[in-house]
Symmetry: C2
Subunit: 325 residues, 2 copies
């Protein structure tokens, strides 16, 4: 019997780190998770991660052959293999994360950020199979994005291409955590939606269940629930969010002309509540040559598994590109 080729996919988040062994067809053979402990130094983190991985490896069939390791991490630089200035991790300025992993594993290792991981996963195992040009927009606490051109993630000259979340909606607009003003993610994100709802509360006279909640009780999930129930202000908050997203997606299309745009992340759970108006506004803002050419879609990945699968897809792609297995 021949060996079973597998890779390890690791998804590092601010709170949890999930990892799993994945075969070439996208089947997760074994998986586990641990707390990230953001206050740990990075060497401590990697040493702990290594122990957890080796524990999980004991469950694998003896015939398995580990071929490589793919990693998704915040602020990862694909070219340099580094994690740079990750705000929610106490790892210091620039960490050679690939180098640290290779202290334990003498295998091909690749690392990139969460949005790129989502795009690569979609391309190998999800709804972007067969597509050459597409975008993935992750809308959660912030807004991340990944651009695929000719079947490959676009990294650009800096290695950080695709930070559409920090393109400008309004140069005099909302302050952004990045230090600029009016960035897309200050409007289109869970936090942006809440801010928009709060603005509407001060502007509008209509009765709304939002008005009787204390401000810190208002979450994106609540606004979603009330919008579903027909609350005018909540629907309007989604509509304003969708208009800005639609306008900036039309801008993105004017750059790379994708076949599809995938909306993933926490706010993707709002489904048509966000997608339907966004699709309409985007179409309005599109330049003639692009009208009717772009699909706006949800992910085709199993919820909760997409990050491990995406990290695995990253290293499968590298191995095939470089014919390393």
């Amino acid at each position: 019997m021949s060996n079973m080729d597998i890779v390890l996919g690791i998804d590092i988040g601010g709170t949890n780190t999930a990892f799993g062994f994945v075969d070439r067809e996208g089947m997760i053979i074994a998986e586990a998770a641990m707390e990230t402990n953001a206050s740990d130094g990075v060497e401590e983190f990697v040493s702990r991660l290594h122990r957890h991985i080796e524990d999980l490896r004991l469950d694998l069939p003896p015939s398995h052959q580990l071929r490589g390791i793919g990693i998704g991490a915040p602020n990862a630089n694909y070219y340099r293999g580094t994690v740079e200035k990750a705000v929610n991790l106490n790892w210091g300025k620039i960490v050679d994360f690939k180098g640290l992993i290779r202290r334990y594993y003498d295998l091909p290792v690749a690392i990139t950020n969460d949005a790129n991981i989502a795009a690569i996963g979609e391309m190998l195992f999800g709804n972007a199979r067969g597509m050459k040009h597409f975008l993935v927009i992750t809308v959660g606490t912030g807004l991340g994005s990944s651009i695929v051109v000719d079947g490959r993630v676009l990294y650009g000259y800096s290695g950080f291409a695709g930070e559409i979340g920090h393109s400008t909606v309004d140069p005099e607009g909302r302050p952004c955590r990045c230090g600029k003003k009016g960035c897309l993610e200050t409007y289109v994100s869970a936090t942006g939606l809440i801010k928009t709802a709060l603005t509407l509360l001060t502007e509008r006279q209509e009765p709304s269940p939002l008005k009787v909640m204390s401000r810190h009780e208002i979450t994106a999930e609540k606004i979603h629930e009330w919008a579903k129930a027909g609350d005018i202000l909540s629907l309007e908050a989604f509509d304003r969010t969708a208009r800005i997203l639609g306008m900036k997606l039309a801008d993105a299309v004017a750059h790379t002309s994708p076949e599809a745009i995938f909306i993933v992340g926490g706010m993707a759970k709002s489904g048509d509540l966000l997608l339907k108006p966004t699709r309409r506004y985007m179409e309005d803002f599109l330049f003639t040559a692009y009208k009717g050419t772009v699909k706006l879609m949800l992910s085709g990945m199993k919820t909760g598994k997409s990050a491990i699968l995406g990290a695995a897809a990253l290293i499968w792609g590298e191995l095939e590109h470089q014919k390393l297995y």
Copy 2:
């Protein structure tokens, strides 16, 4: 003696069509031009162009070997070989221009739009030699753009990627000839600069030589001259234009993270008057990860020759990629 390999580069404009035979080093062996006669049908145009080309060919050394034809034309679709809805040519909706040329020449033919031609020329013979990721922005009557990713022009799914001129600056802004509102080219173009100057004339009290000119006398060249002479309103018109350009270039960087952005076309003649403030504003609007990574530059192509050389570079690139000579 071996044959001299050359290609034909053709640049089709609304008024003039220029063409020339170009060798692999970017030397123009012979060149000529004819009137486009925009009111002609396309078959008539191609027949006339063919006669002019054959006339010019008589001047070539007998040892030459014509290897292919590269064409720059408004609204050309690289994938389909078509010219589609070119507003300043009476050619009908969708013209199979590549097919028409191949009625006369049984050679490889490639066609793309003016901005892409400028980018390909810059890459083979100009200031982008050795660069993998860069943008070319053509600022003249309108604003065109071309995006190079991994050493290749980005066409995207539709074949029309890179129409940044129709990204949105202000959704309630100036009406654009494309039917949308507030497109970048309504602000950053010769016509946009004039509109901005006229707006400033109504807003400001300062004396200005622009105030004594009749409105239809105000051209981009005049505003340039007066700005050079220190006129406050003219300088302010350039500054506002540069701010909007800088903001949208920062957005473009957030998409593809280029190493350099080249400003070409009529308004590039304003040089530092436009480039210096644009560079400053762009840097202000750039997301942290991109600050200091992008050069804003002028073309390295000989003025007046760049379109023929770019069209020649297009087909040289194809021939080498496909090993056709």
